[in-house]
Amino acid sequence: MNKNLTSISKQALWQNNPALVQLLGLCPLLAVSASVVNALGLALATTMVLIFSNLIVSLIRHQVTDAIRLPVFVLIIASFVTCAELLMQAYAYSLYLSIGIFIPLIVTNCAILGRAVTFAVKNSPLISAFDGLMMGLGFSSILILLGALRELFGTGKLFANMDILLPMASNWEITILPNYSGFLFALLPPGAFLFMGMLLALKNFIDKQLADSITKHQNAQQMASRFAKDMS
């Protein structure tokens, strides 16, 4: 059981990360990641929708037949997206004004429907909710990292305007590069693609290094065992 949860987390955060490996939900990911606060807002909304939609889909999985499961799942997801949108309007209206158009689009985020169809229909509610949380965190981590990178390269600052999401964060803004004249390219869509490509390359590079070190380790073990056999 415990092992199962660890493997779910590992899958969601690294091996099968929705943003880095499955490449799902790229439209909001690329469009909203121009600053940390926007990225964080979308990350929270997406994670919340993922957790609850996975939970509900898993609860009703025995009642829904295959023929109607897609419309039913989309309805469930859409309901939670509407909740997220209304919550954002109520508690973070200025954030809603800046990324509001992308909140309804969460419905079409394939990462969410994908988890409902491939995971939640086969697993018990709590496990599904946990999977939703982990997948949400996997997606969010990349979204926020991308937001931070683009904000840093685009404006030289980090955590600007955080107070539109978190009221206590009005003085969180850090100027990393003083007298930076700004690099508009990073804030515009081409910059999103470029930085996303760099993150993908970095992930593949780390995976390759890991794989190489494992094969090296195995080779060394094989050599050692062969050597031991020869000696005996």
Binding site: F183, L184, F185, A186, L188, P190, L194
Partner: protein
């Protein structure tokens, strides 16, 4: 196994990559001289600065990619990219602007796609587009050419094409031209000579058969056709005279030096005609109805996009070869 090198009798004359690149560099000289005469030493300084960084970035990436350094540096392709970018950006560009540009050209547009011969997009044009998007203010302020009476003590200002786009309002072409001394006689003071210089260099490249005639002819032809069609007798809705379009902005540099890049252009004879015409038309559309004063860079990038597609549908059949 040692293989004897034989010269095939069918092969008339082969240019090595480095020789082609050197000819391209040499052919840039008339245009560069015109730029220097009218706009000051800025372009030459930019080209030297860009050249140094191009070689540095090139060597750096080659070391990372574990490629032989000498072999790739000797093909001069990095220098050609640096020179072309240096000819495109304003002479008054700050040092960090050109540095950002050459980084994008060499590291991202060239080597991340696999190096010379593998790059989908013309590196100099990718860099130019990135700079134009990232630093619109610096990139549209061109040094004021020699021989213009200034009302105020300014060093940089809009180019003739830029002026024509943004300041004209609903004036007739002749009326507007007579008000601004920047237009000169044909297409803007200085610009006529700069484009003339690149035309001369391009003709040398054509004569040496380093570039084919199809792309420049198709591109200039379609640009001429478009500007003649939409000249509209110089009315208030006119897109400007054909002369302004052919000898203004980066037309000649684009037609002979940039659109003809053998790596990113279409490779079939028929395809090259389509490719050149496409670039000419898109350039005109961006200049007259688009958001930017000059459209060569975006038009070439769009052309690069379509080149593999054009090639696919214009493969010559064996009977056409004979």
């Amino acid at each position: 196994m040692a293989v004897k090198k034989i010269k095939l009798p069918t092969k008339l004359k082969a240019f090595s990559t480095s020789l082609i690149m050197l000819w391209v560099l040499a052919a840039c000289i008339p245009g560069l001289v015109a730029l220097t005469v009218f706009f000051g030493w800025g372009s030459i300084i930019n080209i030297i600065w860009l050249g140094i960084w191009a070689l540095l970035f090139e060597s750096m990436v080659l070391v990372f990619r574990k490629r032989p350094l000498g072999f790739y540096l000797k093909d001069y392709s990095a220098l050609v990219t640096a020179v072309l970018l240096g000819l495109c950006i304003p002479p008054s560009s700050p040092w960090w602007l050109s540095l950002t540009g050459i980084f994008f050209a060499i590291v991202i547009a060239k080597h991340l796609y696999g190096g010379l011969g593998q790059n989908l997009f013309n590196p100099a044009m990718v860099a130019y587009a990135v700079l134009l998007i990232a630093f619109p203010l610096e990139m549209t302020n061109w040094t004021i050419p020699l021989g213009i009476e200034q009302e105020i003590d300014a060093y940089t200002g809009a180019t003739a094409l830029d002026l024509f786009r943004n300041e004209r309002g609903a004036m007739l072409v002749n009326e507007f031209w007579s008000q601004h001394s920047a237009f000169g006689t044909l297409s803007g003071i200085g610009w006529e000579w700069v484009n003339g210089g690149f035309l001369l260099g391009g003709l040398v490249l054509l004569y040496k058969r380093i570039i084919g005639w199809q792309i420049p002819v198709a591109m200039l032809g379609s640009l001429l056709l478009m500007s003649a069609l939409f000249y509209d007798g110089g009315s208030s809705a006119s897109g400007g005279s054909p002369f302004m379009h052919l000898f203004g902005g980066g037309t000649m540099l684009g037609a002979f030096f940039i659109a003809t890049d053998p790596v990113t252009a279409s490779t079939t004879p028929k395809g090259r005609l389509i490719y050149g015409a496409l670039i000419g038309i898109v350039t005109y559309i961006i200049r007259v109805w688009g958001a930017y004063p000059d459209g060569i860079a975006f038009a070439v990038l769009l052309g690069n996009f379509t080149a593999p597609f054009i090639d696919y549908y214009t493969q010559p059949t064996p009977s056409q070869h004979a």
